[in-house]
């Protein structure tokens, strides 16, 4: 090889390395937080500069020291036990024709692709459990632990089957991509099972069939799904039985005396057909790591089921009024091209979700329409909105299992002993007696009905005919034993939001008229008890006669004062008028009203041409420097002042002591402030005030790791934090102790993982049965979420790792969630989406929240001043950290795009940007503040730093700090390696280039 070729080749080689190192450095820096979290690198450490203090572990695990392997083992065991307990008490037995428990059954056959490939969880944040992964118990193992002998040939056959969840579609280069959300192809066909028909006779004590449905983050279940091969040519709901599933049920029914179906789906499957074939149906949601143990115990009878549904199981999953404008059927704005041309497609202003259902989500629709049908009002029996082909709307046809439904292996008798209506609370005493012959736990469900009269009709105040306001669960009651539960109800839960109250200012009211409290085995049963007290019977069309003695009636006068003021005396008033589509275009949308079901039920989609005024708001640019804003220099002058305060001192300083907090924060340089807005997998250090740290994410698992490696056979492994049951199972326990312990254990998981905060409490509503993240969210009922969320968050906040509910607020769909414009009435929003979070945030004072991708009205949630400042800060008096949903900067802030209106977001009250580990948004705001001499913007950055540091100071991150501790910054090794590579390759490329030129010159002279 000639010299010039050698130098040419080497120059190429090193130049290529140089380019990769340079661009790679940008990529690595932008994603430093993720790299550091994956490599377990901390970029700052606490150094003691004084005498070593006695104990700086302010936040301790209940299991022992964080460096004690035995304590860690106890924490892991307790977490897994919590996981199992959730299933033991949250799985809901929907049907049981004597098939369960299977105490005597031994040899069983297990069917369904979902048996060998269950959804332990759906794709989203948090630890992933899978068959064979650490701590995961699969169904077969769990069944065998209970003494069942599983048909091995069939099981092994299923393992080699070809069924897969999600529509398989051809991707680039011949690769296939599984798109979740479809049920087509998710079950083996009849021919597959017939191969194993000769094994059935030997394992015929029972057939267990597992059906699975799975959405994901970003993917709803499909409203218009395709059927399996040979099935319906017309689209069907993904929640309906598909052909292969129907064929399977037919086959097992013909071959087995007992058929038990397990619903491995947090989304409400259409069960009416399953009921025809199955002797028993058990709702198991997603089991997480070890929930199958609880399932097997229930099947065997070692545990008596006591879980209840937290969603309505409708005959048709498409019958809910919310379905028409949401999920996979969300309509586009009619002039979407004009919108994109006017404001740019990066504003993601294409989809519109008009929430025509008003307050009537889930049972609030089905039960209210039922009540009106019984009472003969509001055209409730009209065929509008009824099942296809029905001449009239009929509850018995529409609903298979109501909210709160769930059977037991024993029977209970519940007696409403007394109700005391106090000034702040209502107290009900309920005695429960086990009237059966096996021990069991009973859920007491307390519901309320508030008046719906002429005032409400005239003022468009909608009322659910029944709403849960409290619940409790007995201890394990032996046969014949009884227990009296006391349930208190906050009167606030009886209030309705009336936009016309207080001379049009709006506010919560207590309607005038008769109020009812009722107990019931489920929402429908409780409503029947109320209707019985009102004199209605089956003669009026009721599905069953109620028991009036199980209800209590009292009267209230009209009252708009009791809840007139929020925390700190701030008046509650209308904030979301512009979130009503009719505010922008008069008469554009009709909201469902019980005053006229036939005339207001949404039978077609609602969309509009966005007007110029609407596009101006969709554009997202509204921030203007206030006229009285101080100069940048004035605000900046306070920074850089050493006060000697550190986290160890600040952990005891209340936020109300603004003077001390200002002294603490002003130790920073203004250039440090953007790091206080940077929330990511690994959050950066903020100057010398707080170190870098990681955060948890995931509603059924915080997604962390325990710090001490453990032996797994010969291998040393890191144990991930536990994946608990999907939230509808946890909420379905109706057991405050279990819900609270979920909070405690997730807090423990967070502490052991050294997470400051965890975005892990799923308070959004199951607006429709199709939500891709219904598994992460608690229920369809806002008061259920209010009650459960308050308990879970309160328990978690007692640990040293904060709870942060998500996705605040109104993110009830996954498809098109990027910027989808949601329109609703203020009443529906406040009593629905907001109330679902209020328990966690206002009542339990969560450490933070994570917002959503969606818009409320025309504004991105994160940029809504009404939402983040007026409601959260002022009305609720809440002071936690407000974080956007994912808004990474990709290394460089882009000015524009709906997630990048940083000044507007900060001015609205949002203070951190999720997955922006480089503080790109905050840096842009700082530069803008400097360029425009806007001291107000700078002061907002300071406020964000106070909020962030306040949360840090109340967390496990403060552990290890004494008054003499300082932070030392560390450059991660990978950054050093990239820098060395860059310099070395640059030098070598340069050298080789010089040598190349010299060789060329030499060669030229020779020639």
């Amino acid at each position: 090889m000639k010299n010039s070729k050698l130098w040419s080749g080497l120059t190429s080689l090193f130049a290529v390395i140089l380019v990769i190192a340079l661009v790679g450095n940008t990529l690595a820096t932008a994603n430093a937080s993720y790299i550091n979290s994956q490599l377990g690198i901390n970029t700052a450490r606490v150094v003691e500069k004084g005498t070593a203090p006695t104990d700086t572990t302010y936040y301790k695990s209940q299991f022992g020291a964080f460096d004690d392997a035995e304590a860690q083992a106890k924490a892991i065991a307790a977490a897994l036990e919590q996981n199992i307990n959730e299933m033991r008490e949250g799985a809901a037995l929907l049907k049981n024709d004597g098939a369960l428990p299977m105490a005597d059954a031994v040899k069983i056959s297990v069917f369904g692709h979902g048996a060998v490939d269950p959804a332990y969880q759906a794709s989203s944040a948090g630890t992933k459990a899978s068959t064979g992964s650490v701590n995961t118990v699969d169904l077969k193992t769990a069944l065998e632990a209970q003494g069942f002998e599983v048909n091995a040939k069939l099981w092994d056959g299923l393992l080699s089957g070809t069924a897969a969840r999600g529509e398989l579609r051809q991707g680039w280069g011949g690769m296939t991509i599984a798109v979740t959300g479809s049920a087509a192809g998710s079950e083996e066909n009849r021919a597959f099972y017939e191969q194993y028909a000769d094994t059935f006779a030997d394992y015929s004590d029972a057939a267990i069939v597992v059906f699975t449905r799975e959405g994901a983050e970003g993917t709803d279940l499909m409203m218009q799904d395709k059927d399996d091969e040979g099935g319906s040519a017309e689209p069907i709901s993904s929640l309906a039985l598909h052909k292969n599933e129907r064929d399977l049920l037919e086959m097992v029914r013909a071959n087995f005396g007992k058929v038990v179906v397990l619903l491995n789906s947090p989304n409400q499957m259409e069960v009416h057909e399953i009921k025809e074939y199955a002797d028993a149906i058990l709702f198991i949601g997603y089991p997480g790591h070890q929930g199958f143990t609880g399932v097997a115990e229930i099947l065997k009878g070692a545990v008596n089921p006591s879980g209840k549904l937290v969603d309505t199981y409708a005959t048709s999953s498409l019958s809910a009024p919310a379905v028409v404008n949401s999920g996979t059927d969300t309509p586009l704005f009619l002039n979407v091209d004009e919108i994109n041309a006017t404001i740019g497609d990066d504003e993601r202003a294409e989809y519109i979700s008009f929430q025509a259902e008003n307050i009537y989500i889930g049972y609030r629709y089905y039960e209210t329409r039922y009540a009106d049908a019984v009472m003969g009002q509001g055209n409730a029996s009209s065929s509008v909105g009824a099942l296809a082909g029905a001449a009239a709307w009929s509850y018995a046809d529409e609903v298979q299992y109501p909210f709160g439904y769930g059977l037991s292996y024993t029977s209970f008798e519940q007696t409403l002993d007394s109700v005391t209506v106090g000034e702040k609370e209502i107290t009900a005493k309920v005695t429960v007696k086990n009237t059966g012959d096996v021990a069991g736990k009973s859920v007491v469900q307390l519901y309320a009905q508030t008046p719906y009269g002429q005032y409400e009709i005239d003022h468009k105040v909608e009322k659910s005919a029944i709403a849960i306001v409290g619940f409790g669960k007995t201890q394990l009651l032996q046969p014949g034993a009884s227990e009296t539960l006391t349930i208190t109800v906050d009167r606030y839960l009886l209030a309705s939001y009336d936009v016309t109250a207080n001379d049009g200012q709006g506010g919560y009211i207590l309607s005038e008229g008769d109020y009812y409290l009722a107990i019931g085995d489920d929402a429908h049963d409780a409503l029947n008890n109320v209707l019985a007290a009102q004199g209605y019977t089956t003669g009026n069309g009721m599905t069953a006669d109620g028991v009036s003695a199980k209800s209590y009636k009292w009267a209230e006068k009209f009252n708009s004062e009791e809840f007139r003021y929020g925390e700190n005396g701030v008046a509650v008033s209308n904030q979301f008028a512009d979130c009503d589509l009719n505010y922008w275009i008069d008469g554009a949308g009709t909201y469902l009203s019980r005053s006229d079901w036939a005339g207001t039920f949404p039978v077609r989609q609602t969309s509009v041409n966005a007007t110029k005024e609407m596009m101006d708001v969709l554009d997202g640019e509204w921030y203007e420097k206030p006229a009285d804003a101080p100069s940048f220099a004035e605000v900046a002058a306070a920074f850089g002042a050493e006060s000697g305060l550190n986290l160890a001192y600040m952990k005891d300083i209340p936020l109300s002591d603004t003077e001390t907090w200002d002294l603490f924060i002003h130790q920073l340089q203004v250039e440090d402030l953007p790091n206080a807005t940077a929330e990511s997998f690994s959050c950066p250090a903020v100057g010398e005030l707080s170190p870098s740290f990681a955060v948890g994410d995931g509603c059924d698992s915080v997604g962390g790791n325990y710090p001490i490696p453990v032996k797994n056979g010969e291998e040393e492994i890191t144990v991930p934090t536990t994946r608990y049951c999907s939230n509808p199972i946890m909420t379905g326990t109706f057991n405050y102790d279990i819900i609270a312990n979920r909070g405690t254990m997730m807090g423990e998981d967070g502490m052991w993982s050294n997470f400051m905060i965890n975005y892990n409490v799923g308070n959004d509503l199951h607006r429709t049965p199709f939500g891709g993240r219904s598994f992460e969210y608690m229920s369809e009922c806002p008061t259920m979420n209010y009650l459960a969320g308050a308990v879970e968050v309160e328990a978690m906040e007692k640990t040293g790792s904060h709870a942060a509910p998500k996705h605040f607020v109104g993110n009830d769909q996954e498809f098109y969630r990027d910027g989808v414009a949601c329109f609703f009435t203020e009443q529906a929003f406040r009593e629905g989406n907001l109330r679902a979070f209020e328990g966690s945030v206002r009542v339990a004072n969560s450490g933070g929240i994570m917002q959503s991708f969606s818009r409320i009205g025309l504004k991105w949630n994160s940029a809504s001043y009404a939402l983040n400042t007026q409601v959260l800060r002022n009305e609720w008096g809440w002071n936690g950290a407000i974080d956007t949903d994912a808004a990474p900067c990709f290394g460089e802030y882009v000015d524009g795009g709906y997630r990048n209106h940083a000044a507007e977001v900060l001015a609205a009250g949002t203070q951190e940007w999720c997955l922006d580990g480089v503080g790109g948004h905050g840096t842009w705001v700082l530069n803008k503040a400097r360029e425009t001499d806007d001291g107000y913007l700078l002061s907002l950055l300071k406020d964000a730093a106070v909020s962030w540091e306040y949360a840090i100071s109340r967390s496990v991150i403060a552990n290890g700090y004494s008054s003499a501790s300082v932070i030392e910054h560390i450059t991660p090794w990978w950054a050093t390696a990239i820098n060395v590579t860059t310099i070395a390759s640059g030098c070598l490329a340069g050298l080789c280039l010089v040598m190349l030129v010299l060789s060329k010159v030499k060669s030229g002279k020779k020639n």
Binding site: G9, S12, V16, I177, A216, A886, G891
Partner: protein, 131 residues
């Protein structure tokens, strides 16, 4: 053809792969993938430089080979960097801020690019025509 050496064929392969890269980028971009302006320019430069190398051994051939390799490296790492969320989300089965449905295109682009970079570097070490 007898005068063509291994370097010529390597440059020819690189040139073809650079054209394939450009076509892939057009498709990728049309499907919503992020392709920065400089990437288009770099892809075009890579094609031109590698095509120039096909003219045989010239005084400037060594430099065009280097520039072509560097341009391909820039295309590769930049497109990969801008598509990192496509890949991350596809691996996690979620859809958040990227376009996970384009992850396979990211893999394909990276694969084609890496082969092109390797052949470009190899071509730099070798003569394009026999002496």
């Amino acid at each position: 053809m007898k005068k063509k050496s291994i370097g010529f064929y390597l440059a020819a392969i690189t040139c073809v792969l650079a054209v394939v890269t450009l076509v892939l980028l057009v498709v990728y971009s049309a499907r919503g993938g992020i392709v920065q302006g400089l990437v288009w320019a770099a892809a075009a430069v890579a094609i031109l430089c590698e095509a120039a190398s096909l003219l045989g051994e010239k005084p400037w051939t060594d430099f065009t080979s280097i520039i072509g390799a560097v341009a391909l490296a820039y295309v590769c790492i930049t497109v990969f960097s801008d598509g990192i969320w496509n890949i991350a989300e596809a691996m996690n089965g979620i859809k958040m801020v990227g376009l996970p449905e384009l992850a396979n295109m990211n893999y394909t682009l990276a694969g084609v690019n890496i082969v092109a970079i390797i052949t470009a570097i190899a071509a730099s070490f070798t003569r394009k025509s026999k002496a």
